[in-house]
C-alpha cells in the first residue's frame, strides 16, 4: 500500500513538473501560430503598428478574411455550412441563436475551456455578463461574447434611443424648457408650432422624423405599449401585438401621422433621409440611437450646413411617454461574439485566449483605444494617462489610428472610451451622458431585456416566428392606408386573428419551456 502511495505521489510530481515545463514553454511562446480571422477594414489593419506589437509579443501571425456590414452574415454562414471556418470567427448571435445551438451541438464549434485563474480578465467578463450563461450547452460555452465596455457601471444597461431637437427653434416659438424636459403633449405642440410658424424658414418644415428602420415604432407605439414581443402577463406568456396597449400605441402614431406632425414620407424614406432633413434644417425633432459617433456626425454636418447654427442649438429632448412615465429599454450586455474552429489544437486556442486576455485587461484596452505606450501615451507618477497624440490647429487631438478597424475591439467594445473620447467636443459627450443619466432616474420605466426569450431555441418558436415577422409592416400599412380609427381597428383585428394559430403554437412552447419552474 505504501509503495502504491509513493508511486502515486511521484507520478503526480512528475506530471506537475511536465505541465509547468509545458506552461513555461508556452510562456516563452516558442511555437509560432497563424490565425485566420474575419474582420473589417483589413487594409487599414495590415498597416496598423499595434498589430505588429501583438504579433511580436505573442509570436503569432494573422491571415484576415475581410467582411463588411453588408456581407458579414452571408460569409459567416457559408463558411460554417461548408466547413471552411476561420480559426477565430467573429459573428453575432442575435437572431441566429438556433443556428448556434444546432451547429454547436453538432460539433461545428470548438468548446471554450474554463478560464479560471489562467485568464483572469476573460473570467471577469464571464462573471459580469448574463448572455454567456444562456449560451452554455451541456455546461460548455461555444461562443465568447464581446461585452459592452460600460457594462460595469451601467445597471441596468439602458439604450440611448432619444429625440434630439432644435433648441433655437423652440426658443423662437416660445416653448423652450431649459431642462429639455417635455411631456408628450408638449412635444406634439412644439412640433405643430414648428410646422405652423416655420422658424426654419423652409418651403415646408417637418415636425417629427426618425431613422428609417425605427419606423413605425418610434413615435407613439413603443412608448405606449412598453413591452417586449413575448412578455409574461398574469403568469403566462402573451404576444404583445395582440394586447390593447399595442393598439392604443398604433392609434397614437396614426393620430400624429394623419395630422401631419410626423413626416409624411417617413414610411417610405431611406434610412438616413430624415437625418438629412434634420441636418438641412427642415426637420425640428429627430429620433435615433444617439450614440457618440452618430451624434457627433449629425452635429458636425449641421454646423457646417448652416453657419448660424451652433452646437448649443441642438440638444437631446427628454419626452415622457403618452402614458406619463419615461420609458427606456435594457440593452443586451454584449455586441457580437467570437467562435472557434474545432480543428484548432488546444494549444493554439490557448495562445489566442492569452491574446484575448491581454486585450481585455487594462494594458490591452489602452492599446486598443489610445495606441502604443511611450509613443501615443504615457503613464505619469500619479498613474494618470497622458495622451501624446498630435493636435490640429484648433487644439483638438487627432487619433492616429483608423477608427474603422474593429480588430482591437474583439474583446471589449469601445463605448466606455467613446464617452470620454478626447477627440470630441465636450458638448457632444455631455449630451450623450445626460441621456444615460436621465435614463437612470427614478421615474423611468426600464423595459427589461428578455434574456430567456432572446436566447430561446425552441423548435416551434424557431420554425414559426418568422411568420410573424411582417407585424411591423402591417402596423405601417394600417397607419398609412386606413381612413378612420374604426377602419384601423378592424384591419388590425383581422391581422391579429389571421395570426392566432401561429401565435398559439409559439406561446404554448414558451409557456411550457420557460415557465415550468
Amino acid at each position: 500500500m505504501k509503495k502504491k502511495i509513493v508511486l502515486l505521489l511521484v507520478s503526480l510530481l512528475l506530471v506537475s513538473f511536465m505541465s509547468t515545463a509545458v506552461m513555461a514553454q508556452d510562456e516563452n511562446y516558442e511555437k509560432e501560430y497563424t490565425y485566420v480571422i474575419n474582420t473589417m477594414n483589413v487594409d487599414s489593419l495590415l498597416e496598423d503598428p499595434r498589430l505588429d506589437l501583438i504579433k511580436e509579443k505573442f509570436n503569432v501571425d494573422f491571415e484576415f478574411r475581410p467582411v463588411n456590414w453588408g456581407n458579414w452574415d452571408e460569409r459567416v454562414r457559408i463558411w460554417t455550412a461548408s466547413g471552411d471556418m476561420p480559426d477565430v470567427m467573429w459573428t453575432d448571435l442575435q437572431n441566429k441563436f438556433t443556428e448556434y445551438v444546432n451547429w454547436a451541438s453538432q460539433g461545428a464549434y470548438k468548446p471554450i475551456p474554463k478560464f479560471g485563474d489562467k485568464y483572469p480578465n476573460l473570467q471577469a467578463i464571464r462573471d459580469k455578463l448574463k448572455s454567456d450563461d444562456y449560451w452554455e450547452i451541456n455546461g460548455e460555452l461555444y461562443a465568447m461574447p464581446v461585452p459592452m465596455g460600460t457594462v460595469d457601471w451601467r445597471d441596468p444597461l439602458v439604450d440611448t434611443f432619444n429625440f434630439i431637437y432644435r433648441v433655437d427653434w423652440a426658443k423662437e416659438v416660445g416653448l423652450f424648457n431649459k431642462d429639455h424636459e417635455y411631456s408628450w403633449d408638449e412635444m406634439v405642440e412644439m412640433a405643430e408650432a414648428f410646422i405652423e410658424k416655420n422658424p426654419g424658414e423652409n418651403r415646408k418644415t417637418i415636425g417629427i422624423g426618425g431613422i428609417g428602420w425605427a419606423w413605425p415604432w418610434f413615435a407613439g407605439l413603443r412608448q405606449t405599449h412598453q413591452m417586449n414581443t413575448y412578455t409574461v402577463k398574469d403568469g403566462e406568456y402573451v404576444w404583445a401585438p395582440a394586447q390593447p396597449e399595442f393598439l392604443a400605441g398604433i392609434k397614437e402614431t396614426k393620430k400624429l401621422y394623419d395630422q401631419g406632425i410626423i413626416w409624411e414620407d417617413q414610411p417610405i424614406a431611406n434610412n438616413d433621409a430624415a437625418k438629412n432633413k434634420f441636418i438641412a434644417g427642415e426637420l425640428g425633432i429627430y429620433f435615433d440611437n444617439i450614440s457618440v459617433g452618430d451624434y457627433s456626425g449629425i452635429m458636425n454636418s449641421i454646423t457646417a450646413a448652416d453657419k448660424n447654427v451652433e452646437l448649443a442649438d441642438v440638444s437631446p429632448m427628454f419626452v415622457t411617454s403618452p402614458k406619463g412615465n419615461y420609458f427606456a429599454e435594457e440593452l443586451l450586455d454584449h455586441w457580437s461574439a467570437t467562435i472557434y474552429n474545432p480543428e484548432m489544437s488546444d494549444a493554439k486556442l490557448a495562445r489566442w485566449l492569452e491574446i484575448e486576455n491581454y486585450m481585455a485587461g487594462k494594458k490591452g484596452q489602452r492599446l486598443s483605444t489610445l495606441g502604443i505606450e511611450g509613443k501615443d501615451y504615457q503613464i505619469d507618477e500619479n498613474d494618470e494617462v497622458e495622451i501624446l497624440w498630435e493636435k490640429d490647429e484648433d487644439g483638438n487631438l487627432i487619433n492616429p489610428y483608423d477608427t474603422g478597424v474593429r480588430f482591437f475591439q474583439l474583446t471589449t467594445m469601445h463605448d466606455e472610451f467613446d464617452l470620454n473620447n478626447p477627440n470630441l467636443a465636450d458638448k457632444i459627450k455631455n449630451d450623450v451622458k445626460s441621456i444615460l443619466r436621465r435614463k437612470l432616474e427614478d421615474d423611468v420605466y426600464v423595459n427589461p431585456q428578455p434574456y430567456e426569450v432572446t436566447w430561446f431555441a425552441g423548435d416551434d418558436y424557431t420554425r414559426y416566428n418568422s411568420r410573424l415577422g411582417d407585424t411591423m409592416a402591417e402596423v405601417s400599412d394600417v397607419i398609412v392606408s386606413t381612413n378612420s380609427m374604426e377602419e384601423l381597428e378592424n384591419k388590425w383585428q383581422e391581422y391579429i386573428d389571421s395570426k392566432r394559430d401561429t401565435v398559439d403554437i409559439i406561446l404554448e412552447e414558451l409557456n411550457q419551456e420557460l415557465l415550468k419552474e
Binding site: E63, N68, W69, R75, S82, N276, G297, N300, S301, L424
Partner: protein
C-alpha cells in the same frame, strides 16, 4: 444610305420623341454627377439641382484615397479582359456547333437549357470552388462564368441567318468547320459579336458577388466590391470620427454617386469605339458586293 430623303413631319416627331427620352434619361444621370460633387447640406437642402451651389471633391477624395481602389481597378481590368475573351470563345464555339444538325443535338440543347433552371445551391458550389483551389484566386471571377445561355441562343440565331450557300461553297473548296467558322462566319457577324462582347464585358466589369464570397486578399478584390465596401463604410463613416475627418463633408449618397461615376467612366470611354461595329451594311450586303 445614298438616297436623300425629304425631312418629313414624321421625322420631326421621331426626333422630338427621342430627344425627350434622352432628356428623361440624361437628367437623373447629370443629377447623379452633381450629387457626387456637392457637400451634404447642399444635397439635403434640395436633392434635385440644376446647378450646384457649392462644389467639393471630398467624395472623390475619399473614394480614391482607398488603397485598395487601384488594386481593384487592376484586378477588374484583368478579369474583364480574360473573362470576355474566355466567354466569347466558348459562346462562339458552342453556338456555331449547335447550328449544325448533328446526332444528339436536341439532347445537348436540353442539357444546356436545364442548367438555367436547376442548380444545387450555394453549399455544393462553395465546396466545388474550394476543391478546385479557386478560393482567393483571381480566376474564380473568370472560370465559373463560362457562357451565358441566353447570349449563346441569340448568337446561334444570328449564325442560322447566314445563308448555307456560303458554307457549302467553302466546304467544296476543302475548308473544315473551324476554318469556315473563323474565316467566313465571324467576319459576317461583327455587329452581334461586338454586342455580345460589350454585354459580357460589362458583366465582368460589374462582377462583385464571386469576389464577395470567395476572395479574401484585398489586393485581388474586384473594383465593384471595393466600391461597395467604401459606400458601406461611408454610412458608418460618421461614427467615432477623428477631428480631422469631422471636417470632411462626405455622406453616403455622395460617395455612392462618386463610385458610380468612377465605374462608368472607363465604359463610357470604350463604348464609342465599339459603336462603329453597329453600322448596318457591315455584314451580308458588303460581302455580297
Amino acid at each position: 444610305m445614298m438616297t436623300k430623303r425629304k425631312f418629313t413631319v414624321v421625322d420631326i416627331i421621331i426626333l422630338i420623341l427621342l430627344t425627350i427620352f434622352g432628356l428623361a434619361v440624361l437628367y437623373p444621370f447629370y443629377n447623379a454627377i452633381l450629387v457626387s460633387l456637392v457637400p451634404q447640406h447642399v444635397y439635403a437642402e434640395s436633392p434635385f439641382m440644376l446647378w450646384p451651389d457649392e462644389i467639393t471633391l471630398d467624395a472623390y477624395k475619399q473614394v480614391f484615397n482607398d488603397q485598395t481602389l487601384i488594386n481593384g481597378m487592376k484586378t477588374t481590368v484583368i478579369v474583364t479582359f480574360l473573362g470576355t475573351v474566355y466567354n466569347m470563345l466558348i459562346t462562339i464555339l458552342t453556338s456555331y456547333a449547335l447550328t449544325k444538325d448533328i446526332p444528339g443535338r436536341k439532347f445537348i440543347n436540353y442539357l444546356i437549357l436545364f442548367t438555367m433552371f436547376f442548380s444545387g445551391g450555394l453549399i455544393p458550389y462553395y465546396l466545388l470552388i474550394k476543391n478546385l483551389g479557386l478560393i482567393n484566386n483571381i480566376l474564380v471571377m473568370v472560370l465559373p462564368m463560362g457562357f451565358n445561355i441566353m447570349y449563346m441562343i441569340v448568337l446561334r440565331s444570328f449564325f442560322n441567318d447566314i445563308p448555307d450557300a456560303l458554307e457549302e461553297s467553302a466546304k467544296i473548296d476543302g475548308a473544315n468547320d473551324f476554318i469556315i467558322l473563323f474565316k467566313i462566319i465571324l467576319p459576317l457577324s461583327l455587329p452581334i459579336l461586338a454586342t455580345l462582347s460589350l454585354y459580357y464585358g460589362v458583366n465582368r466589369w460589374n462582377e462583385w458577388y464571386h469576389g464577395m464570397l470567395f476572395i479574401n486578399s484585398p489586393d485581388i478584390m474586384p473594383l465593384q466590391l471595393v466600391l461597395r465596401n467604401i459606400v458601406q463604410d461611408a454610412s458608418k463613416f460618421l461614427q467615432g470620427n477623428t477631428a480631422a475627418m469631422a471636417n470632411v463633408e462626405t455622406f453616403s449618397e455622395g460617395i455612392q454617386m462618386a463610385s458610380v461615376v468612377t465605374t462608368m467612366f472607363p465604359i463610357m470611354m470604350l463604348y464609342p469605339f465599339l459603336q462603329r461595329y453597329f453600322l448596318s451594311g457591315l455584314t451580308l450586303g458588303a460581302v455580297k458586293s
